[in-house]
Every structure is written in structure tokens, then in C-alpha cells.
Amino acid sequence: MIAVKNLHKSFKVADKTVTAVDDVSFIAPSSAITGLLGPNGAGKTTSIRMIGSLVEIGGGSVTIDDIDVAKNPDAAREKCGILTDARGLYTRLTARENIRYYAELRGIESVKSEATIARFVEWLDMKDIMDRRSEGFSQGERMKVAIIRALVHEPSTVILDEPTNGLDVMTTRALRSLIQRLKAEGRTVMFSSHIMQEVAALCDSIIIIAKGRITAEGTTDALLQMSGKDNLEDAFVALAGIDDEQHNMKAA
């Protein structure tokens, strides 16, 4: 479970202070998929980076399975598998070597990591590419390797930042199926996306974030009802709008 309380972050850009995340609080429970929805620059990636303790928490707190990320970042990193938009692979290593490197860095015994790798490879149907050098991999192939690399330590919490960006239909389907399987295994799954259908189809609850603040949260139905719209895209546009009336609207 991820518990985020009054999260805050601001950056200094050319003598100006820009607030990227402003008083964000939410809970992403275990065995559930929580979607993070928001326009570009809304603060999704910064929030994810703070949860992954890659960016210092500016204010508030984040706990992962009751571990305080600020106080014990390494323990939190062991619980977390995060895929951000930096998905670079070592192109002279094979897909398998790229993943094994992370398993070794995380101190996982090879017997255990090989079993984990084999399971994910099966799920994502990527046997053919595992022993090929990753140079020249398609975007989808790179994504699959990056995901297994992030999950090789069997984390209880999985956070994926726009994982389906730029992927073809088949890869997207494989990825959606993976997300559902991770949930079925009892993990906390959180992912951000721009694709409304995907969010609607997968998420148990959705958090809409705009200009660094949460503007709405709830199930798909709750958000539709709240916005008075009949599809999630229109609901998102309405709820992510920053006019004052909707600013602090939250579903019950």
C-alpha cells in the first residue's frame, strides 16, 4: 500500500519557484490498480519520483507498506518496482543480461531471479528476444525488458509511469494483462496514463491531478457522475480543469 500525505515539491527555475506538487494526498491500496491521470506537467512524474525516493520529498510524507520513504529510502526501494520514462538499456548486453544485472545489484540469488524472469518472460511473450543484444530493439521490446528489470525483485508495490506510451496494440495488450496479473498476485499497482480507455478498463480507482494538485478521485463511475459526463475523456477534461469550482472536488 502506498500512503501519500500532504506531498509537496517545488523547484527553482531561473530565480522563480515553481510548485510541481502541491498538497497531494492519496492512498493506493494493495491488490488494486490505482490510476494517476493528468495533463502534461501536472506533477505525476515528480510525485512518482518522490515515491521512488529519486527526488527529495519537499514536504509531507510517503509510506510504502508502512515504511517511511524519507526516513528509510533503501528499505522503501526494496519494496518498490518503478518504471519511469527513463527506460534506457545497455545496448551491448542481451535482454537477459540487462535484467540479471539488476537482480545481482539487488542481491537476489540467481535461482530465485531466474524463476522470476522466466515467469515474466512467459507473461510478456518475449522468449525470442531474451538472448539478443538489446541494440536495435523496438520500443515495445525495450519497454518489456525495462518492466522486467523493474520487477525482478518481486516488489510488493509496482509503479509504472505511462508504460504504454508509443507501444503497438499487441504490446499494449500484453502489458495490460501483466498489470492485471500483478494485481491478482496481491501487489499494489499504480500507473499513470493519458489513454482514457486504458485507465477506465484497468483501474479500480482513479486520481486526477492537475497543476500539482489532486482535482478529483474515485472510481470511473464516480468520476462520470461527479462531472455529469458520459465518458471518461470528457469527465477528465472537466475535472482536470482548474476553474475554482472544480478545484477541490472529490468523490465521496
Binding site: 527555475v13 521512488g52 525516493s53 529519486l54 527526488v55 527529495e56 529510502p73 533503501d74 528499505a75 526501494r77 526494496e78 518498490c80 518503478i82 518504471l83 519511469t84 520514462d85 527513463a86 527506460r87 534506457g88 538499456l89 545497455y90 545496448t91 551491448r92 548486453l93 543480461e97 544485472y101 539488476y102 545481482e104 545489484l105 539487488r106 542481491g107 543484444r133 525495462a146 528489470r149 523493474a150
Partner: protein, 395 residues
Amino acid sequence: MAISKFKTIITVAKKELTDHMRDKRTTLLVLLLSIAMGPAILMGLGYFMSSIEQKFEKKEVFVQGETNSPALVNFMQRQDMTIKQPKPDFRALIKEGKHDAVLVIPENFSQKLVEGDAKVELVYDDTRQDTGNAAISVLRGVMRGFNQEVAAQRLTARGVSSAILRPVEVENTNLGTAAQRAAALLFIIPWITLIGCVTGCTSMAVDLGAGERERGSLEPLLMTPIAREALVLGKALAVSLYAFGIAILTLLGFALTLKFGNLPNIGGVISLSLQQYVVFFAMLATFAPAMALVQILLSTYGRTFKEGQTYAAYAIQVIALLPVVALLGQFKDATWQLFVPVLAQLMVITRILRGESVEVMHYLIPAAINITIFVVCVVIIGRLLKQEKIIFGRA
């Protein structure tokens, strides 16, 4: 689950070496150039030295009209000189730099010599540095000697001591041994070797710094619970092993050339014992890793591999230029040089090559300085990897 830092260091080093060695073209080029450096420098140096020595030692002089002055010819022969006939068009050839200086003795020389009005012509072109400089000084020396001898004979004939010609007697006592005189050029060996050791590590160092971020692999790496210092040390270990490899190959190139390379000029000047090779290697073995770490540090500031490479290139330029400063400044082996990387290695390795004594401080001080640079770089890079602007690239 606490991850042992030692294990992390080994894992990172192993991965980095595997990764880099698979770049076969770069690795092969670096390794081949390293081993080829010794033979190339030694052969070049040998050729250069022998061409100078030959001109001085053979004492070959070109004289036109040798029959015009048996006395002068006799003087030259007594100096063990070989008199050679110049080519007919020697004036044009000298201008083109294809002929050594020529002494022209006119027809009536002997008679004029008696009359006290003798002249010879020395034909040369001093704008040509490539040929003839040695020949000019030999011919000038001959004429100086001949003049002195004739003058001394004339004074003696008049009952005056020839010492009157030399109010101050200069006694030449050259403390430099023959080897040292030839060794004046030996600084080229450490100079080129040091540059080779540094440039050989550049591609790997920049890949470990700026390359990691440009590739987008730094962020996921830093989301693992490994210690930043262990990560940096792992990279440092990898690049150090690579640098050791370059240093060993470079030395091997030198050793094999000296042993089997049939270079009589060099063989007489440089003859290294195993112990001297060890000191030579020790100088490179701390220098190369320290400079590799400086390159990783500089490249960490680069947003892209290209930018990192540019920063590293400037560092190499400084390293390459320092010896020139030392040369122009005509630094004698001074203790302060031991505290300046590059100058220290240059000084100590040149001493080894010259066959001069090397004291303990000669390798302990540079080693301590290099280890300090190494450690400081590891600490700074470790800290930089905690800074958001470094991890994500400066905006």
C-alpha cells in the same frame, strides 16, 4: 536484505567491463595502439638519434677542390674525417635541402694561404632544419681547428708561444654521460605514454558518466537500493582495470621492442631492469586510474556523451600541454614536480630511462597524490549522483 557494498562494486565492475569489451572496434583500437606505442616511439627515436649520431660520428665532409690544399686535406684526415666529393649541382640541391653543406676550396688556396689572404667558401642553407645542421658545425669546427693550427705554427716559427692566441684556456669537462646526452630526447617516451594511458580510458570513462544518463539508464539504476559510493567504486574499479590493461600493454610494447627490436642506438641508452619496469608500471598504475576518474567526474557534468567527451578532451589537452610547459620552462628535476600529476610521472619515468637513481619518495609522493585525486573524485561523483539536476540533466 542488506546488499553488501563489496558485492555491488564487483557486480558493477563486471558489468561495465563486459559491456565495454563488447565494443570490439574501440577496444581493439585502444589495445592495439597501446601495444604499438612502444615500438613506434622507440623506433622513431632510434632513427632520429642514429641520423644525428651518424653525421657527427662519421665526420663525413663534402669538399670541392680538395686537391687545391693538401695542408687542409691533411688536417681533415688527421681528424679522422672522410672527405667526399659533392654532387656537381650541389648548390641547387642544398637549397632544396637534399645535400649537406659543402666546403669549396678555390684553386689558388695554397698560394693565398702563404700570402695570408686565403679564403674558403662554406655553402649551406640554414633555413633548412631537416638536413645539414650537423654538417655545418662539423665544417666550421674543421676550419676553426685548421686556423688555430696554422696560426700556432706561424707564431712558433717566430719564437712566440701559441698560448698568446688563447688568453683564457677553456677546459671542457662534460659531466653528462654519453647515455645522458642521448637521453635528452627520452622525455618523449613518458610524454606519449601518459597521453596514451589517458586517452585510452576516455571512451569508457565518458560512457560511465554522461553516457549512463544520456542512455536513460541512470535513473532506474539509482532507484535500486545500492549505495551511490559502491556504484561509483564499481565503475572506478572497471575503468582502473582497463587503465591497468592499457599501462601493461604499453609497457609490454616497450619491453618487447627493447629486447627484440634490434635498435642499437636505443639499446645503448635505455636498458631497463625488471625493478625499473616495476617502478615504470607503478607510475602508470596510479596515474591512469586517477585520470580516468577525473574524466568520469568531468563527464558527469555533461548532459550528453558528446558534451562529456568535450570536457574530457579539454582535460587531455591540459595533460598533453603540461610537459611542454616543463620543457619550455627548462625545469630541472625538482621536488615540487612530484606533487603535480603528469610532471611527476614525466620526471620519474625519464629518470628511470636515463638510468638515474629513483628514490622512494619519487614514487610514493605521486602515488599518494593520484590516490587522493581518485578518492576525491569518487566522493564527489557519489555526491553528484544524489543531486536531482545531475540525475535528470540540467534544465
